[in-house]
């Protein structure tokens, strides 16, 4: 099966997004971030010594997985019922709430996605195919006011340049951006009202449930031993949050 072939080739191909702190690429090209770190450790325990990461848009991840471009998605791709239909998720790994990045003082007073829908001139930036884009569309923001932003830095820049009014990402991603930008004219609103806390998991192809189950076993062991917390907490994620929920709950099963 898939796990055997991964063991044989000695590496697993994972999709990441280059969105710190979920996923990050260092100056020397090495991949880090909470999600790949966890995946790397679990795969090691499964007898797959290496992970090879390729950066991808959120929207391209699931098609890429189905097209066998990746063996797993470990990128902070949050579990939502319709995604659970498309892929096989592991148990939760990284949990985070949604946040807005806004100009200082939040001049238009946005607190929720619905607020943005209500203002006919407001535009919101979000990664293409990400949870935030979906949330905005579901809250009634028309397609042409949801600007698909290729990456965090572009979103930050577009907000600074006044091309968008709000930029929405998970809390920790926004914090990371704010820390890097150190721009006193920006502020973060977290959490966004009415938006649930989401958790991601490693996503596998629907037919690779055996691999997923093996992954879950090792993941549970790590959660138990505390190694899990040691890996993700330096990035600001809470291990407790991941332990307190389950795939079944998040996928609405």
């Amino acid at each position: 099966d898939t796990l055997d072939s991964l063991r044989e080739q000695g590496f697993a191909r994972i999709a990441i997004a280059n969105e710190p702190p979920f996923t990050a690429v260092a100056a020397d090209g090495t991949v880090s971030g909470a999600a790949p770190d966890v995946a790397r450790e679990v795969f090691k325990r499964l007898g797959v010594p290496e992970v090879v990461a390729s950066i991808s848009e959120y929207g391209a991840m699931i098609p890429g997985l189905q097209a066998r471009r990746h063996d797993a998605i470990t990128a902070g791709l949050f579990m939502k019922p319709e995604r659970c239909q498309a892929v096989a998720y592991s148990e939760p790994i990284l949990c985070d709430a949604e946040a807005f990045l806004l100009p200082k003082g939040n001049p238009k007073g946005f607190r929720s996605y619905a607020d943005i829908a209500a203002d006919p001139w407001a535009t919101i930036g979000a990664p293409g195919g990400g949870t935030e884009e979906k949330l905005a569309l579901e809250a009634g923001v028309p397609r042409n006011r949801v600007i698909v932003v290729p990456d965090g830095q572009s979103g930050l820049k577009m907000l600074q340049d006044g091309r968008i009014d709000v930029y929405s990402l998970p809390v920790l991603s926004i914090s990371d951006l704010m820390a890097k930008a150190a721009d006193p004219n920006l502020e973060m609103l977290a959490p966004v009202q009415g938006a649930p806390v989401y958790c991601d998991g490693a996503a596998f192809r629907k037919q690779d449930t055996a691999l997923r189950d093996a992954f879950d076993v090792e993941l549970a062991k790590m959660k138990e031993s505390g190694e899990f917390a040691k890996l993700i907490e330096p990035y600001g994620f809470s291990a407790e949050a991941a332990k307190s929920t389950s795939r079944a709950a998040l996928c609405g099963e």
Partner: protein
């Protein structure tokens, strides 16, 4: 993954909307390219080296670097210099600028294609420089350029998907957006291909007709 006709029917209106924007972008960019290209062509012919040289270098630089990177540059770097363009405008300017360098080449060839005797006849009948351009050179230079220019128009049409990188919701971006929320790439991408091919085939026929009608510039 199966081909799903119901899904095709569902996404078609969105894609057609994208196609509309794509066509609009193409036409606007073509306008920019045609105008700016003329400026380049004339500047490069200038007897003043301080005009001709830098313009020549600039044109060569634009031609030698990818449009995608130029678009990023216009969209993300220029705002630091206080030039903040909406995505559509940035895209049209970027693409127009890029293709202006090609158009300039066509103009040059077209102008050089007018025999020297025509310049001399204009001089012998004492026309001014402006009158010579307006009444003698340009009317003769333009028709043979038309097929070559049309060729670049088609090329431009095919490069509009690059504008998705700077958040313009043209055909390709619409398709990606559809794919992102449905996790299906097969139908949207194939349809985009089909739409492009259909448009191109139509334009190839048009081009053949133009070449027949106006002749072709010698290479």
């Amino acid at each position: 993954m199966e081909w799903d006709w119901a899904f095709v029917a569902e996404i078609m209106p969105v894609l057609l909307q994208g196609l509309q924007l794509t066509l609009l972008i193409t036409l606007l960019s073509a306008g920019v390219a045609a105008g700016l290209g003329l400026v380049f062509a004339i500047a490069r012919r200038s007897p003043r080296a301080w005009i001709a040289r830098p313009v020549g270098l600039f044109v060569s630089f634009i031609r030698g670097t990818p449009l995608l990177v130029q678009l990023y540059f216009i969209f993300y770097v220029l705002p630091d210099a206080g030039i903040r363009l909406p995505p559509l405008v940035a895209g049209v300017l970027g693409m127009g600028l890029h293709y202006a360098t090609y158009a300039a080449e066509v103009y040059r060839a077209g102008i050089e294609n007018v025999p020297r005797g025509q310049w001399e006849a204009a001089r012998a009948t004492n026309l001014t420089a402006a009158q010579t351009w307006r009444h003698v050179i340009v009317p003769q230079a333009i028709p043979p350029m038309i097929p070559a220019l049309a060729n670049y128009l088609i090329a431009m049409f095919k490069e509009t998907p690059l504008l998705s990188a700077i958040t313009v919701l043209e055909l390709m971006n619409q398709a990606k957006s559809v794919a992102n929320s449905s996790y299906r790439y097969v139908e949207p991408m194939t349809l985009v291909g089909v739409l492009f091919l259909a448009m191109s085939l139509v334009s190839v026929v048009l081009l053949r007709w133009l070449e027949h009608r106006y002749g072709r510039l010698a290479k």
